[in-house]
Symmetry: D2
Subunit: 355 residues, 4 copies
Amino acid sequence: MSFFGEKIKLTVFGESHGEAIGAVLYGVPAGFEIDNDEILLQMARRAPGKDKTATSRLEKDFPVIKSGVLNGVTTGAPIAVVIENTNTRSGDYSNLLTTPRPAHSDYTAYVKYGGHNDIRGGGHFSGRLTAPIVFAGALLRQILAKRGIKIAAHIASIGGVSDESFNPVSIDDALLDRLSGESFALIDREREEPMRAAVEAARLDGDSVGGIVECAVTGMPVGVGGPLFDGIEGRIAQAVFGIPAVKGVEFGLGFRCADVRGSENNDAFEYVGGKVVTKTNNAGGVLGGISDGMPIIFRAAFKPTPSIAREQDTVDLSGGSNSKLTVKGRHDPCVVPRAVSVVEAAAAIAVFDLM
Amino acid sequence: MSFFGEKIKLTVFGESHGEAIGAVLYGVPAGFEIDNDEILLQMARRAPGKDKTATSRLEKDFPVIKSGVLNGVTTGAPIAVVIENTNTRSGDYSNLLTTPRPAHSDYTAYVKYGGHNDIRGGGHFSGRLTAPIVFAGALLRQILAKRGIKIAAHIASIGGVSDESFNPVSIDDALLDRLSGESFALIDREREEPMRAAVEAARLDGDSVGGIVECAVTGMPVGVGGPLFDGIEGRIAQAVFGIPAVKGVEFGLGFRCADVRGSENNDAFEYVGGKVVTKTNNAGGVLGGISDGMPIIFRAAFKPTPSIAREQDTVDLSGGSNSKLTVKGRHDPCVVPRAVSVVEAAAAIAVFDLM
Amino acid sequence: MSFFGEKIKLTVFGESHGEAIGAVLYGVPAGFEIDNDEILLQMARRAPGKDKTATSRLEKDFPVIKSGVLNGVTTGAPIAVVIENTNTRSGDYSNLLTTPRPAHSDYTAYVKYGGHNDIRGGGHFSGRLTAPIVFAGALLRQILAKRGIKIAAHIASIGGVSDESFNPVSIDDALLDRLSGESFALIDREREEPMRAAVEAARLDGDSVGGIVECAVTGMPVGVGGPLFDGIEGRIAQAVFGIPAVKGVEFGLGFRCADVRGSENNDAFEYVGGKVVTKTNNAGGVLGGISDGMPIIFRAAFKPTPSIAREQDTVDLSGGSNSKLTVKGRHDPCVVPRAVSVVEAAAAIAVFDLM
Amino acid sequence: MSFFGEKIKLTVFGESHGEAIGAVLYGVPAGFEIDNDEILLQMARRAPGKDKTATSRLEKDFPVIKSGVLNGVTTGAPIAVVIENTNTRSGDYSNLLTTPRPAHSDYTAYVKYGGHNDIRGGGHFSGRLTAPIVFAGALLRQILAKRGIKIAAHIASIGGVSDESFNPVSIDDALLDRLSGESFALIDREREEPMRAAVEAARLDGDSVGGIVECAVTGMPVGVGGPLFDGIEGRIAQAVFGIPAVKGVEFGLGFRCADVRGSENNDAFEYVGGKVVTKTNNAGGVLGGISDGMPIIFRAAFKPTPSIAREQDTVDLSGGSNSKLTVKGRHDPCVVPRAVSVVEAAAAIAVFDLM
């Protein structure tokens, strides 16, 4: 459900063109002083409208905290946040209820909810619903940071152009700090131009591109997680697959495991400075579902934005016939740059819930 | 935790060399007549010892149903199954508590449980714990089959040798029936020999190989699943990452999304025989977290068996010093063939829970 | 947590003198047309200020639906409701953080949240938090009513003055309809005057009184609920104990069971009009945790309002010394009349969740 | 479901005359050395056959631990316990499937499970299922005892004969230790004879009696529990209502609240020995759903044993006609003495889960 967690409970609500979106986050300890500017920064990284990779729809996305915080300090009660929807142009979507956009949730939601779903802007399935997720993650990562745990992600690939990968055994705090402040987060800043070029080329073609986000969690204590269905991988994956457009999640070597042998893949242990570490980190920081103290590194694959300017084949559910559709409105040709902060947020939520 | 489900509740218990392993499955409807032979067939597909890709340890793995079934018919009460452990050679593992095997859970479990975990054979983290998961999945897939839902998987890749992929828009029932009876499940049976050769080559090198399992779920009604954290992808991923050695899960195009454009990736709708279908199935049967009626297709990456015959670098936790380790005992050079039925079981559990 | 449900998920948020209170309700089926007037009626029954049994604080308590409802019809997405707090006089409560009011949560919340809880008006522990519970219950009981299930309660006892009890084997729909519209709900309307007299006498003494609410659920199909921890009694009890001031819950004969024999207590079965019924209903409609088709009848005991006008002994947590306290502000000398609609709401939430 | 807990997960399985009953308990910390004798003592307190208040059926009830414990010490893995069923006389119950026993689950289970439930001995609804609950509680209370938390109960009332009540503000450890070792637990041992006489009188009449169990939890730290649906009362009530035959649960003054005023009911705070205590304990140790450091005291009402020797009116579901039934087999005329250890176990499970 639109709901996550065992120890914390995160409920996300709202519809893209409804009155508001928001979230309720339960389980945040009392007495934590929130850095509001940092939360707004994270929300700004997700917000659209900053450049040509993003939709030109201007959202204010200002999160109003309705409960659980008094004088900037958490009270221990559930934290409710409401983001009013403004600047919606609902007329853009009027024909979509019975003419589903390919690769969107229009058709499946229509069947599941018997046509009663709010189709405007994708309704509850809109990427806009990631704003309250980023709010929750931005808050929880502040608490994690106080415990020495840092989370940051970068654009690993867009439209075939790749960034460098994290060094799996040694990630500098300064790098994570830099990435988690960027709106187009890259390890190698030289890759921005060719990535933007790939996005712009797609846009000019009336098309869109997908990509991959790579995320690192450092400072994890050894021993978090558990066996079988309680493993870190499953919990992070559940959170990350909760982000619209994610179609794959892998840890460490991930799918490349199929092409290596055990002698290459196994991460040998050694003592360094009195601490047990691994010489490599193909496991992505997780052994037997439990953190091993190395950076947790995972990658999430995002499909290309489904809303493209070209005419597409679809059906007319009202008439039971085939049809054509040209999606109007303003849409990102690539969601990946904005998705970086959402992936970080999902990681923060899952990691916090595990601790 | 060693626990899965919202509508059903599956609890898995046991340790590799303890008295027994087993599971309790709650939420199975009353009045279903179980096909025991089919359950035993599925468990046999997972069981080791049939050929050189598997450990030579002989397990009887006979599941004794202790409750919830009367005269072969479910009663509606929780179904408890116990598989007694026999033929264990615990002496093989005596030094492992403080000399953790690389790429195993030994080190992380040691820290998490303060050294009180049962290290013998990996304890609760052993791949042997997948036997009760296969039992639960084999039972639930029988109920799903009565509702027209079929599940089968095959070895997509081992040690660099690939099988054909499922045809994403049209999967024959006969193929699924054949695959779900095979112990070395392949779409193209010609690939068995080169795959076995790759495994054998690794074994002769004292090494191991990983691989990929591809799974299809057909006959899904439209409208199962939900938005955000209630999506099908997240729930299946949580179940599949619960299988030891899984390091990646992807749906439809998955990580290849990063290299295609929206116009290629979007699955156009059309009416065929009065039914809405998609012309392609890059979504893997899931839109907005909800089934669209096309086959659900996902892939799971398995790391190479961590237990290899070669000497490896590790640490001596008792002495705080670096050490060497040669893993003794009998181990699969490749778990992938046996993992096929486990992936199917995890899919069955997740899908049943969603419905 | 401030959270209830298995099939539905109800999250309640807010603090008495914070910005707002509210709830998110997930799991409401799509396509249900909400009767807003009926919801407002139920909320008005709970709201204070209508007579001398209630606090003179005027609350507007207007529930603004932020999501999940489009043109008055549910969309299937989570329903978020926000009730802005107005007319708060926070100055009244300034000394309470370290001078806890007896029989309130002040002391326990202070310890649990390290003094960071919002103490104003009881914060998240305020009876005011029952307003969103009534909203959720009022919505869900409309859906239940469409399925033939009716819920109503009455004041069984206040300050030693009792109402008649429900006839356990035969409850007229007209009675339930009447009760669920009353703000001082009584089967025998003649009891209102002596009950109000008891409350007024306590008020004039600077004191308060407790009471009992009896609730009936009719039209339940046979077979809802389950064994052991899944029984109807436990689920309703968990919801009802979630109402502040409830100290006891009993079903059917309840505590009187201790004084009767099996031959008196057992409800004999018989066929009436082709339907199985019981001749008596000492079980309160529940056998083995499962509904038997008879009215579900339970009673909830409410303690006297803890805020009384008299000086009371307490402690000064800042100084570590004993102290005296006179609670200022406006308080109900008896919450029971207003609690009737809250008990109905809790029953509706629990029953809906079980179905 | 047959399932309890948030932090721990307890799953209970089995049917009275099936192959076995048992439980899986997840969430027990590693490294705890179990006192098996103490567990067996608690199970013996619940077991029948010791005197005329109990059924003459002899159960061995020996709990075999299948996992999660190594050399008597918990490993952190789920603890599975299996109790084989022996000495069952299934022939006794053959006509019950369509001739439901009044006040039993026969009718409701028949409808819920479509007649597929195991009716023998009540199946999954049997009081016998409390044996694994006692096992789980007996284990968890040992861990609680190490943290200074003691739990014991006594027979507050049977067939109209009452025991003394706990002194709510001061309960001697020695008393709790004595009670938790008794099979007919009483504060005032002089009450045993008249209670047994009341039971025996009922038995000679072919009848049965109900009663009340009062339970105390001492040593609770301040601050356990939470607001609204997370309160201690609701969680304990859910666990205790999970015990078959419980029809009421109350805390502190409970239903007597209706007859007292706030000035009597409010528990004044004071410092004693530098510690905050209350002068009275009408709250039963819980304020705002959170422990206040005073003993948690609650009472559970048990209905009279439904199986009585007299002929009773019932229905013949196969014929759709009224019928008569004389319940054969061996049955307790009063379950209350045996229920004492079950109530303690339910309290231990709920309290452990809250911490």
